[in-house]
């Protein structure tokens, strides 16, 4: 069997000022999967966040979600949506939210499916989410935009790193 090192960082950013969108563009097509790791905080209140593929903000997204919020487990779905939703991020800078996106066969010519994990604990409250998401497009992904809802922003110190994973 062949063995080759992979799981390579493609790009990373740490916010030095509040920002609504974190963009990774010109993503090379040389990997098999992408993995986006975000440690995020909101500047105030809580914010909704979305991950857009190739800056497509049309209703081409859907997802199935499994959640636990400390007392109960639940499941929900969105269909034909323009908002590939993750979670409500906390505003407390010392209690960040960990978010991962595993995007499979991102450079291929099939519709794109990905897995999202959201883990956030606020010492008395919190959420854990697991999603499977679909972008109904056969285009290769060359850009990702991680966006906070209108009029909200990610706080200073929010980090996002994009990794590439290449199969043998």
């Amino acid at each position: 069997m062949a063995a080759g090192a992979t799981y390579e960082p493609i790009a990373t950013t740490t916010l030095t000022s509040a920002q609504q969108t974190i963009t990774f563009s010109s993503i090379p097509s040389t990997y098999t999967d992408l993995r986006l790791v975000i440690v995020a905080m909101a500047t105030s209140g809580t914010i909704d966040t979305w991950l857009y593929m190739n800056n497509d903000t049309e209703t081409n997204y859907s997802s199935t979600r499994l959640s636990g919020e400390g007392t109960t487990a639940s499941s929900a779905r969105i269909t034909t949506s323009s908002q590939p939703y993750d979670t409500n991020l906390a505003s407390i800078s010392t209690l960040p939210c960990l978010i991962t996106h595993d995007i499979f066969s991102y450079a291929g010519s099939t519709n794109k499916t990905w897995l999202t994990t959201v883990s956030m604990d606020k010492n008395g409250s919190g959420v854990v989410h697991r999603y499977v998401k679909l972008w109904r497009s056969t285009s290769a992904i060359n850009r990702l935009d991680y966006t906070a809802a209108t009029a909200t922003t990610f706080a200073i110190g929010t980090t996002a790193t994009l990794y590439g994973i290449k199969a043998a």
Partner: protein, 171 residues
């Protein structure tokens, strides 16, 4: 390390092998898995005429497998546990226009003193239906894992089904 250079960090995540469905077989096999890693990870994107890929280690077809599940179908969350299985529930593999995806972590796979535990995150969404699942699995064997088969529950893996095996090192 030379002055002015960064520390060299040896790569810890390596691609070991890939396997693709043939359209005429319901089995994916990774054999002769090398030692030298601490954990394994399988990443899959697949369709088949099955619901799940069923994982078996070292061709052990006895009732030596146990699984616990937590899953959501878009309207409710459910949990269950199964014992006495002849293989472990692995990645989803729905027969759909839209692919199922999965990540299977196999921990301490070459230990000769521990039973082997896996964790799975897998799902499929079809814009109106689908399922997301997390599960744990246990193989009641202290043998080091040297081969992995992923079988459909029925039918064949599509030619578009892809499985990639990775090894994760420790220092």
């Amino acid at each position: 390390m030379l002055v002015g250079n960064n520390y060299y960090i040896p790569p810890a995540f390596e691609s070991i092998a890939t396997a693709t469905g043939t359209g005429s077989s319901g089995t994916i096999t990774f054999s002769s898995i090398p030692s030298g890693y601490k954990h394994l990870q399988i990443r899959s994107i697949a369709t088949s005429s099955s619901s799940y890929g069923m994982i078996r280690f070292n061709s052990d077809s006895s009732s030596n497998y146990v699984s616990h599940f937590l899953y959501g179908d878009g309207s409710s969350a459910s949990a269950t546990g199964l014992t006495g299985l002849t293989s472990l529930y692995g990645p989803r593999a729905d027969n759909s226009t839209y692919f199922s995806v999965g990540i299977v972590d196999i921990l301490d796979f070459d230990s000769s003193t521990k039973y082997k535990t896996i964790r799975v995150l897998t799902g499929q969404d079809s814009n109106g239906s689908g399922l997301i699942m997390v599960n744990s699995g246990l193989w009641l064997s202290t043998s080091a894992i040297t081969s992995i088969t992923i079988n459909t529950q029925s039918g064949n893996w599509a030619t578009t089904a892809q499985f990639a095996l990775y090894g994760i090192k420790e220092l």
